[in-house]
Subunit: 116 residues, 2 copies
């Protein structure tokens, strides 16, 4: 476990590239790095119902191929209005485009490069 992490630590400055190099060891232990992963956040969806979240998610799924995005999960807290969407995508802009086109633009898009 330590060897995998230290391999990354010794790699190029993460600021110099969009994501870390995926060595064989990393690919085996963290398959997420084979495709960039993103967590986007919506903060103004208070009161969202099951039907509304499913409809919004389906609208994304219907057009996601046009930007090479694959939305895999959506988690909502209707009380706070926060919705978290996990996706695989070529870049953050692709995620933003799909959400914007379906009428629910993301407030934040974070590239996930470390998981546990």
């Amino acid at each position: 476990m330590g060897a995998v992490g230290s391999g990354l630590d010794a790699g190029p400055d993460p600021e110099d590239s969009d994501r870390p190099n995926a060595s064989t060891e990393e690919a085996q232990s963290s398959r997420e790095f084979l495709v960039p992963q993103f967590m986007d956040v919506h903060t103004s969806m208070a009161g969202v119902t099951h039907d509304q979240l499913r409809a919004a998610h389906q609208a994304d799924l219907d057009i996601q191929d046009e930007e090479g995005v694959n939305f895999t999960h959506a988690w909502a807290d209707p009380k706070s209005g926060h919705v978290f969407c996990l996706s695989e995508a070529p870049n953050a802009e692709a995620v933003r485009k799909i959400h914007a086109r379906t009428g629910h633009p993301a407030d934040e898009v974070h590239e996930i490069t470390v998981t546990a």
Copy 2:
């Protein structure tokens, strides 16, 4: 699909209870509702490495049983410093307690009652 959602919509005001009643249909379609689920967010972990995230996550796992929490995933964006942790727990306070005790208090804890 519509029938599952509309059943929830016609249910009690979500403000009146911590989570929706789990009917048989909902339990079948969304097993998450069998145990309350939470997404917590840390916003000040810029530069977090694989080793650091794994160590922090392991520290949570080591004591999570004491509060009945089960942390299932952690996703980090070292550039923005955001870390998202998904868990099953009896309530948000239990999640906050574990993260606080292991030295990385959560900035937000959201109860997830709707998924897609």
